[in-house]
Amino acid sequence: MTSLAIAANGLRKSYGDKVVLDGIDLAVPAGTVFSLLGPNGAGKTTAVKILSTLISADGGDLHVAGHDLAADPQAVRAAIGVTGQFSAVDGLITGEENMLLMADLHHLSKREGRRVATELLERFDLVEAAKKPAASYSGGMKRRLDIAMTLVGSPRIIFLDEPTTGLDPRSRHNMWGIIRELVSDGVTVFLTTQYLDEADELADRIAVLSDGKIAAEGSADELKRLIPGGHVRLRFADPAAYRSASAALREVTRDDEALSLQLPSDGSQRELRSILNWLDSVGVEADELTVHTPDLDDVFFALTGPTGSTSSTSSTGPTVPAAQNDQSKETAR
């Protein structure tokens, strides 16, 4: 049996009468990357704040690194590192001083503290900026310093709350590299993100959080299989071939501009063969054939969209405005 780094049963939290987390269950095996995915206001940050001992839960049986969150928060704190959504660096002092502050708070000796600080500043490409006040750093540098500070105590479990929000593409890819490195060192990573490609790229398991509940959980592939939306796309260069193919096919989505046709398909070998056979039989030749499997975007929208939009209009009324309120709250903060 693999040990669980994070185990939550029935985690609940509400602010006033607004339920933020409505009894969610999480199980994160040690040494894996777990991603909590969800739109703004879904409760991702609240979950991280609770699991990292920053705020208390209203209910639930919660264990992190084998310690009960309610009974022994200090033991949990000794095992974790947290990089929140808003940079947790001291802007008034230099990057190096921030690192040495962390070393002191982890009770490292002077020499050991210096060694760790220097090593991490090098690893995160901050040597040049080390003597400058952290407030003068760019967003990407602050985020790197933030993670470097989190790593000073060599935590076994790391919480990263939207670590790449607001970063440019290069910094984002750098951050992904950093996270992969952490995992290769055996660290457990609990990651929240609103970027699906990020979860797809990094996470062993993904939970989709929507309205305070886990809407779905599994590997990226498992989640994609939950959702229909796979198709085969045929593209034609010759308008005549396009017309004859589309006339012969009935269940098809046409795109007259691009001269392409979309056929629903699960992408299996058998379906592909039947499509090819059919093309041969009617004597048309497509210039390009591509297979599309649903990506996490499809999953995300299907699972977290306004619940009533596909079924009845009566339930969209209360759901949509609530979601909008959450978003404006998040931006205002």
Binding site: L54, A88, I93, E97
Partner: protein
């Protein structure tokens, strides 16, 4: 590591952090010193002759009023310096770094203790600075013994500790630095309605009880007595009582706010 040595070590780390802030950005502390220094110069050089005549009868010279006003100015300096503590606590609490501290296995109180000790040290430094200006313009302590000097120093430290804890509580209760600076304003205004600038019996009768028993007056009268040999009476006990009471109140208030879940 035992709980006590953990507390001492983490508080010392936090104190180093706060002193580093103060050293790197001295402008906050220095700006706060402007008010007491300006009031000192204003009252001595502009109002000095009139004030001297008012407290010691006609024929008194300005040096009588310097002696009268300096103890109040020194305590006002403390009231002014601790506003800095309220501001820096409020700033700190709105930053992510304190959220980080809360998720670390460190002594819980160390963040606040670092602020408090840092602010008391800054208050003492400020008092020494303002005291030096007072001496430069002619203030002399007449016949204070070594013991009285020691007692005066103890009183200043204790009073600084009390006001700092209150200021830290105000900082904790404020959403941002501006609000903290506003809510801590009474700490510098209170000396204006004490015996700092004018004797209590020259204040309108209905207001005298407030002026006489608010925290600054007993402290000022005690300091005046220690440095200049005037009568202290029950003011010593009152000053001690206020200092201990405010320390206890501010400590409970601050730690209770720190223990609450952050927003």
């Amino acid at each position: 590591m035992s709980a006590l040595s953990l507390a001492v070590r983490d508080s010392a780390t936090m104190l180093r952090r706060n002193l580093l802030h103060a050293r790197r950005y001295p402008s906050l502390t220095l700006n706060l010193l402007l008010t007491p220094v300006m009031l000192l110069l204003l009252f001595v050089y502009l109002f000095g002759d009139t004030m001297s005549a008012g407290i010691a009868g006609s024929g008194a010279d300005r040096s009588d009023y310097i002696a009268y006003v300096v103890p109040g100015i020194l305590l006002m300096t403390i009231g002014s310096t601790v506003i800095g503590a309220a501001v820096s606590v409020a700033t700190d609490m709105s930053e992510g770094i304190v959220a980080r501290f809360r998720t670390m296995a460190i002594h819980r109180g160390s963040v606040l203790i670092g602020h408090v000790i840092g602010s008391v040290l800054q208050s003492i430094a400020s008092v020494v600075l303002v005291g030096a200006i007072a001496v430069a313009i002619g203030f002399r302590s007449t016949d204070a013994t070594a013991l009285e000097w020691l007692a005066a120093f103890g009183l200043l430290v204790l009073f600084a500790l009390a006001l700092t804890w209150i200021a830290v509580g105000m900082g904790m209760a404020s959403p941002n630095a501006e609000a903290a600076s506003n809510s801590a304003m009474p700490l510098i205004l209170l000396p204006l309605i004490s015996s700092a600038f004018i004797p209590i019996d020259s204040i309108p009768g209905w207001f005298q009880p407030i002026a006489e028993y608010q925290p600054f007056t007993p402290a000022i009268e005690t300091l005046r007595g220690l440095l200049l040999g005037t009568g202290i009476g029950h003011n010593g006990w009152l000053a001690l009582g206020w200092s201990i009471g405010l320390t206890a109140l501010g400590y409970r208030w601050s730690t209770a706010s720190f223990k609450r879940d952050p927003k």
